[in-house]
């Protein structure tokens, strides 16, 4: 099993924390079952990625990330990708589980997805995509080549 990148893990943790906070804020009532932060993160990345990779392209990435994540956290085996490339079954897997365990599984899933992006398009473009999905999040220094030239 390939090691996962600490940088991707750290970024995943940050994204999950942001989405957890936003989910709490947007929740109408405490009784409402919130969408798991990992599903929110995947959905935001999905919105960015399907523009250029297509639904099928993003779905194949997500499916691979789920396979890799399930190898680390077998509980995630029940999670799948819908035809529209959204996550299916995450709520059922983490519902009722200890908070720490659920957080760990979500972190593994998002980390795998980010790591896959790094593998295919590199860290720079992965950061670019994350920045598109979370415009306020300061990730990775990225300078224009034209700026570099000047």
């Amino acid at each position: 099993m390939a090691a996962i990148s600490p940088a991707s893990r750290s970024l995943a943790r940050r994204l999950l924390a942001i989405e957890l906070s936003r989910a709490r804020k947007s929740s109408a009532s405490p009784a409402e079952v919130p969408v798991p932060p990992a599903a929110r993160v995947c959905d935001k990345l999905r919105a960015v990625l399907i523009t250029f990779a297509g639904v099928a392209g993003f779905r194949s990435l997500l499916t691979r990330a789920l396979t890799l994540a399930a190898a680390r956290a077998p509980e995630l085996k029940g999670v799948t990708a819908n035809p529209d490339a959204s996550l299916a079954g995450l709520e059922g897997v983490i519902g009722g589980k200890k908070k720490a365990a659920a957080q760990e599984w979500e972190e593994v899933l998002v980390t795998q997805l980010l790591d896959l992006l790094v593998t295919f398009v590199g860290e720079g473009l992965m950061h670019q995509m994350v920045r598109q999905a979370w415009p306020d999040l300061p990730v990775g220094p990225l300078r224009s080549k034209t700026e570099d030239k000047s």
Binding site: T51, G54, L142
Partner: protein
């Protein structure tokens, strides 16, 4: 239709547009007059010139970001043109489109790249970012990728067109690329060949063709009115280019190809059509490197204004006695051929020439094909030629051109670039045999033409060029080179072995010199550890030029005057004396 009223072509060629790239358009003008063909539609240079006198619309030219391509296009891409980039798989279509896109995209006027069915976009990004022009910081704000593959699979061409138009209207791009357009064509064909369509299969029938024509027409119309320069990328074989309605609609048609010639791959680009612009016709070789495509225009160096100034200045070759034989040295800006067999000292004479130039403050370039620059310089250093220091201080560049798939244009480009970098006054090409071998096999068949283009390109820059060429020696004739290229040389110095007194000795002669008087002596020389050392004129022998001389026995020895003058078409004074050479021999 009269040429001067043709609206689509001549009207685009304005004074301003032509003036923006004086040299390029001047070149193209001359060239296009020769061929016509696809570019002939744009009118003759004279028609364009008359059009330029009127106050027509100025077509702005976009820089392509591809080295050499703007020159081929006559200054750049016509803004708002509708272009097709076609060619076989792997020939560089996507890379070309990316280069143009990254060159022109800005946050204010972004570029849109629609991917249809073809290379998965994630993989495309993975590979394209390896190129230096790929600027990650431009993604999203300046360069946007839009995937249409789902839509192409789900919907008809009308829906695809509507989606493209919708996104274009939202973004207001300066550049739009649809890759791969061929997929759209196949979609049209499959619709025509689908159940109940009555299509014939394979080639598509009239229904699909009409739909496709409509799609292309509408796309072109919309994108042009949205002020975008547009590219459709498609995989086509050369035969498909004919009779295809898509190519009729396009303003520009760029054909990329790659061919295998024995074990070499040669990539070529042809601008088959470019409305409103004088392009350089013909096939131009290109290479794909880490910087993307680099095009080598086939007229490179031949059409720019010449820097060559006929000058009376003589440049020393570095061997005083040989300078004297040439009336004081080589006339600057001329081309000299050093022809001789292996081991006769051609390379060393080239070293003399470069080293002498360096001493006189004249930078130089040596193009070597047969050994690596370090080895070449080390060998020269052993003979006392201070080339290494000059390399380090930037007054000498030794360039190694040894791949086996070079094109002539690429070679010329490399040498000319080096000449410009070091501001060279002297160039040595060592050797022409190596140059020939470095070329892809297809170019070797036109080697004379290749040499012509290289020598002309270099001498137009005003540099003095010495080329060495190995001559296979025989003992019945005095060949000057195996390439019949003496017409390219202003001066020819022939080196050869001669069998004398039981020794294999060396002699040289100045065979030809366009710039003036030269000696008609045959001089013996030696190659020592200090270079070439000239000895005396060989006297008392006949048939020296065969390499197997014999003693004069006519009783009528000949005493030639010191100089022949070819500059005014007359041979130098020749005096016939009696007994001198016989006396010497006696």
């Amino acid at each position: 239709m009269k040429r001067n009223t043709t609206p689509n072509a001549a009207s685009g060629m304005t004074k301003a547009a032509r003036g923006s790239r004086g040299s390029a358009s001047g070149k193209a003008g001359a060239a296009s007059g020769k061929t016509g063909g696809a570019s002939g539609k744009t009118g003759t240079p004279s028609a364009m010139a008359s059009a330029s006198a009127r106050s027509n619309v100025v077509i702005r030219k976009l820089k392509t970001g591809v080295a050499g391509l703007d020159e081929v296009l006559g200054g750049g891409l016509p803004e708002f043109s509708f272009n097709i980039i076609a060619g076989s798989p792997g020939c560089g279509k996507t890379t070309l489109a990316h280069q143009i896109m990254f060159e022109n995209a800005t946050p204010q006027k972004p570029a849109l790249y629609f991917t249809v069915l073809g290379e998965p976009p994630i993989k495309m990004l993975r590979y394209q970012q390896q190129f230096s022009f790929f600027d990650q910081a431009k993604l999203d704000k300046s360069v946007r990728f839009v995937n249409l593959s789902d839509m192409v699979l789900r919907s008809d061409l009308g829906a695809v067109l509507a989606e493209i138009i919708k996104v274009v209207e939202e973004v207001g791009p300066s550049v739009v690329v649809v890759d791969s357009f061929r997929t759209v064509v196949r979609k049209a064909q499959s619709m025509n060949n689908g159940p109940g369509s009555g299509g014939s299969g394979g080639s598509g029938g009239s229904g699909g063709e009409v739909e496709l024509q409509g799609f292309v027409q509408n796309l072109a119309l919309h994108l042009t009115s949205w002020q975008a320069t547009t590219f459709l990328i498609g995989e086509y074989s050369e035969g498909e280019l004919r009779d295809n309605p898509v190519f009729t609609v396009a303003d520009g048609l760029f054909w990329l190809s790659q061919s295998t010639e024995r074990n070499s791959i040669v990539r070529k680009l042809q601008v088959m059509k470019c409305r409103g612009q004088e392009t350089v016709p013909g096939l131009h070789t290109f290479r794909i490197t880490g910087d993307g495509l680099q095009v080598f225009p086939r007229t490179f160096g031949l059409t720019a204004p010449s820097d060559k100034k006929r000058s009376a200045v003589r440049q020393s070759i570095g061997v005083p006695e040989l300078d004297a034989m040439m009336g004081g040295g080589i006339a600057s800006g001329q081309s000299v051929l050093l022809a001789g067999p292996s081991g006769s000292g051609k390379t060393i004479l080239g070293n003399h020439f470069i080293a002498e130039g360096l001493k006189a403050g004249e930078p130089g370039v040596i193009a070597v094909f047969e050994e690596l620059p370090n080895q070449y310089v080390a060998r020269a250093e052993k003979m006392g030629f201070k080339l290494d220091e000059a390399r380090k201080n930037g007054t000498l560049e030794v360039i190694y051109l040894r791949p086996l798939d070079l094109s002539v244009d690429e070679t010329v480009n490399e040498i000319v670039s080096a000449v410009k970098r070091v501001k060279a006054k002297r160039v040595v090409i060592d050797s022409l045999v190596g140059f020939e071998l470095a070329l892809a096999p297809g170019f070797r068949t036109d080697f004379r033409e290749s040499l012509y283009r290289m020598i002309v390109a270099l001498t137009r820059l005003g540099v003095t060029v010495i080329s060495t060429v190995e001559v296979e020696e025989d003992f019945t004739s005095l060949g000057l080179s195996n390439y019949a290229i003496s017409f390219l040389s202003d001066t020819i110095i022939r080196l050869r072995y001669v069998s004398l007194d039981g020794q294999l000795r060396r002699m040289l002669m100045v065979v030809k010199m366009r710039s003036g008087k030269h000696s008609i002596d045959t001089r013996e020389y030696e190659v020592t550890n200090k270079g070439v050392v000239m000895l005396d004129r060989l006297r008392g022998y006949q048939a020296l030029t065969t390499g197997i001389p014999g003693p004069w026995d006519w009783g009528q020895p000949r005493d030639a005057g010191p100089m022949a003058d070819e500059s005014n078409g007359e041979q130098g004074t020749r005096k016939r004396g009696r007994g001198q050479e016989m006396d010497q021999q006696a």
